[in-house]
Symmetry: C2
Subunit: 332 residues, 2 copies
Amino acid sequence: MTDSRRNRPYEQQLAAARKFIEDNDRFLVVAHVNPDGDAASSTSAVGWMLERLGKRFVLVNEGTMPKKFDFLWGFERMLALDELPSEERYTCIISVDCADEARIGQVKERFAADAKLLNIDHHPTNDSFGDVQLIREDAAATVEILYDLAGTLRLPVEGELAAAIYCGLLTDTGGFRYSNTTPKVMRIAAELLAGGVEGHRLAELVLEKITYAHITVLKQALNTLSFNEDRQISWITVSQDDIRLTGATSEDMDGLILYPRNIEGVEVGLLFKQTDEQTVKVSFRSNGKADVAAIAQRFGGGGHVRASGCTLKGGLQEVVERVVKEVGQSLR
Amino acid sequence: MTDSRRNRPYEQQLAAARKFIEDNDRFLVVAHVNPDGDAASSTSAVGWMLERLGKRFVLVNEGTMPKKFDFLWGFERMLALDELPSEERYTCIISVDCADEARIGQVKERFAADAKLLNIDHHPTNDSFGDVQLIREDAAATVEILYDLAGTLRLPVEGELAAAIYCGLLTDTGGFRYSNTTPKVMRIAAELLAGGVEGHRLAELVLEKITYAHITVLKQALNTLSFNEDRQISWITVSQDDIRLTGATSEDMDGLILYPRNIEGVEVGLLFKQTDEQTVKVSFRSNGKADVAAIAQRFGGGGHVRASGCTLKGGLQEVVERVVKEVGQSLR
């Protein structure tokens, strides 16, 4: 509700979250739309803890949880919105990994008028919605906060809870590779491994498995791999035909842009994705020399210094030429 | 020399290694031929410690250290064998990450007749060569042992030493993904990060950077991606022409086999690499259902249950058909 609550010391926030859970029964646990690994893992972890505490609960998401997370505890109980009884309304809500209410999506329509909400999240952009906040911006993932919450609730971090927390850490840190891989993340991981979590199996399942659509769209995209003259800019394109023929979803196209970006000598990697005949989504990744937030802004987009995006009108080839020219100028 | 020395308690081995270093001056530090990340990082780490201790030393490898490790301390001092003064002979040797003397390669020719050798390694297959052994099979990487040795030598694990150790852990655990990612590995990583190591930068440098030759040979290989009828077997081929045209070295082809293996539903991934008109190297990777060591053995090769290889005579297409048929039968 107010920012003051969020600015409470972390221990107080944990205690308030504990009280919210202990004082109530029958929770609706919801993660953000288009759930990623941390959203799925956090849903599983909260469910596991509520089950241990003998509470009743429903796990829900606006859409369907990606099948790749089917090894998580409670996966079969994670309902899509259209699987919820339509007349049911819920009064105790726990949102996980949602930076604002909009991220809850249409699940919000099932909240009772007098619903109370516990907001557990790690995004710096969290707007402190809800009635009780458990928000820690310097956590690498929401599961890191849930690890602390388990301690506050005096629940052992073991078995499927430990696996869910490890899975959320793995996915939100890109396999312990991003800059959010803090000493605390590694200490928690060490403890979970010591407790028996099969980290290598989880890494295989959530980081290494690829879909058939991913490999076919990757193959198409690599056939378009191009460079500017000095090879500081590299790009790939995905046409509407590619998307249609491969059946690739946007999840299947995750990570494509890393191929041009990671090539030695490349300063800026670009991905051009044709969304309709006259519209192209452009993603920019910089290795540090170019400020791609500034470049994307010039095209009406935005983002970060090293990762940004914009959407342009025009044919695929025409957009490629315009953008590559602009990036080239900024590298000079 | 003898296995009994190797079976000394770890603390005694560390003390013996310390004595070897303290009692001598002017060392030749050598890692295995075709050095990988742990070999390069261990060379750097030992050099850093010797420098701190005011010792003289030469860092050498039979070949050239891969350029991707050029950020390591002392990289510019890591000589190839042909850069060593040819008349020079060395009496104090420290070998790192070498399971047996053969792994030292031709550098051995520069050892003095009365040379003494300290063997620091983590391979279970280490044959305890040398005069002083510091061997710990359950270490994920040789740098993990060097972390302990720094403690024994009362040297702070900081700066470039910390970065070298992190780099060796990263590479030998596949970015904290393999089953050798123990709680101890993660605790050391936590400590190194807390001390200021930029783990995400190191991960980018050693795990994510790809060569131009890699991306071009990957593109060629993906264009050959094939499946058997039930899609449990997937394979890619690299012809002699592909190797010639892309200039790919065997290092550039590292990881290619993971593409077919990681596709959902695939049980066995195969890579067929044509080494000459009538010879094909086959690599097998299993996700658990098939024992690919047994399959490779049937073709005169060998390896592990989940990772194996063999070399067959015949044309590329002919070998593909023979091997896929055999794998198919073992999956039935």
